[in-house]
Amino acid sequence: MTEIDWNNPRLKVRGLRKNFDQKVVLGGVDLEIYPGQIVALIGSSGSGKSTLLRCINLIEGISDGQIWLEGRDISVADIDQDEVRREIGLVFQSYNLFAHLSILDNITLALQHVQGKNQDEAETIAMQWLERIGLADKAESYPDKLSGGQQQRTAIVRAVALNPKVLLLDEVTSALDPELVGEVLELIRDLKATGTTIIMATHELSFARDVADWVVFLDKGVVAEEGEAAEFFANPKNERTREFLSRLKAL
């Protein structure tokens, strides 16, 4: 792996706030991620993980703070949001695939209509990815003929095929049956090996400990604690972190 340039984060967030009416959901979040890193975002339900990812993707407008992508401020008022979203992939918990398109067309859609590739190029790229996740024989199938795990892996490679600068994964395994979780996590591990930069909200703590470089614990809309994965899980410093970790372990 190449040396990380600690002066140039891929993505930097400073003082990010988000209110819904009177309710403060994010109360000033700082975050950065460097090329090739995986950052795991953990925290209890309602702590603001999804909101943070949606703000970074500019799906949700922010109430204060700034976001930079490779040094460019993408939170300025006159930013071209569509252009930013081309560089930041986002995969949700569920309902990701387009139900009216085959698996292959799901992947080629944005390659063609966003990146302007022709059909042949787009299909070549899509087939490479499908082969890689072992779904080449399902290329012509429709999403409703695939298992949840197969659908979710397709959704992830659909985003990765566009070569995003950052890939945001929002609890991509939490809608899946337990026996399907593994194959999706395996894909994420595989993506890390190829240098994809990923921020993932997750409840899979052991996976986070395994693959994440950095763990951020979000509590009531602020970063309560963060650190290198191994250290974070071995020696949580914050009282809230300890509580959260032991509660999840008890489950």
Binding site: N57, D82, N96, L97, F98, A110
Partner: protein, 287 residues
């Protein structure tokens, strides 16, 4: 997996099957008998009314039917052409109205209000009044540079005005039924608003609303007969002329039957589509 080839049903199962088969035979016999009984009663009830022979003579006269037939058929050809243009226009304007109503940006507020007012207005206004207003109002304006506007064109305009409102509501319901995360997924891949609409939301919405859409077109197909009130010589008008000439109502029956025959393929097609999409919906989205 267990082998079903040399499966021997138990005595209890055989008994159940025997009773079910018996009940099935019985219900077929009952429905057959009641249908025949109903037809016989209806026939005798009708033919034994004091005026039946006069009604038969003035509504079901074979010779009048034969004379009227080619002229009414000619008129029906006009209905068909009007229908084709109306369908195209209705799909186009209905879609535009529906899209206007989904625009969220405050800049489009006036357009949104216009679309909404339009739909409310034309859904409430009887088609026949729209026909009168358009058919006699527009020529009354004596628009400069435009000569006499053909009545069938005015009819097409009136049908489009009314039916666009119905179809816009159907499209809008379809667009709103698509889960918001489909649009979000499209946007997060970098597709623009209009691309997400065109490539992701609309194709799914149209599939979903195909059955109600087909119903509206079945109604439209009948309502093209109303252009006759503007004087266009369509099937209804042709029948009317024949009625006046022969002093016999049979041409109306001929025209009516022709409309029914014309509608049946559309109705069957609508049923097929409904069935097909119902199946797909049931198969459902696993995730």
């Amino acid at each position: 997996m267990t082998d079903n080839a040399n499966f021997e049903p138990s005595a209890a199962e055989l008994e159940r099957r025997r009773i079910r088969a018996k009940a099935h035979r019985k219900s077929i016999l009952i429905s057959l008998a009641s249908t025949v009984l109903f037809a016989v009663v209806a026939w005798f009830g009708l033919t034994s009314t004091p005026g039946w022979s006069r009604v038969q003579a003035s509504f079901f006269d074979w010779n009048t039917a034969v004379t009227a037939w080619p002229l009414v058929l000619d008129g029906l050809w006009l209905n068909l052409r009007v229908l084709v243009f109306a369908v195209i226009g209705v799909l186009f304007f209905g879609l535009i109205l529906a899209l206007l109503r989904t625009l969220k940006n405050p800049v489009f507020f006036p357009l949104r209000i216009f679309a909404r007012a339009y739909v409310d207005f034309f859904r409430g206004l009887p088609l026949i009044i729209v026909l009168y207003l358009v058919g006699f109002g527009i020529p009354g304006l004596r628009l400069p540079g435009i000569g006499r506007i053909p009545t069938e064109l005015l009819g097409v305009v009136a049908l489009i005005l009314t039916y666009s409102a119905y179809v816009a509501e159907v499209f809008r319901a379809g667009i709103e039924s698509i889960h918001p995360s489909q649009r979000l997924a499209a946007r997060s891949l970098g597709l623009s608003y209009s691309q997400s609409m065109r490539l992701v939301v609309l194709p799914q919405a149209v599939r979903r609303v195909a059955p109600p859409l087909m119903n509206d077109f079945v109604s439209l197909q009948k309502d093209v007969g109303l252009i006759s009130i503007l004087g266009a010589v369509d099937a209804v008008r042709a029948a009317q002329i024949q009625v006046a000439m022969s002093a016999n109502f049979t041409p109306y029956v001929v025209a009516g039957l022709l409309f029914v025959v014309l509608a049946i393929p559309t109705i069957r097609f609508a049923d097929r589509i409904t069935e097909k999409f119902a199946k797909r919906e049931q198969a459902g989205n696993a995730l």
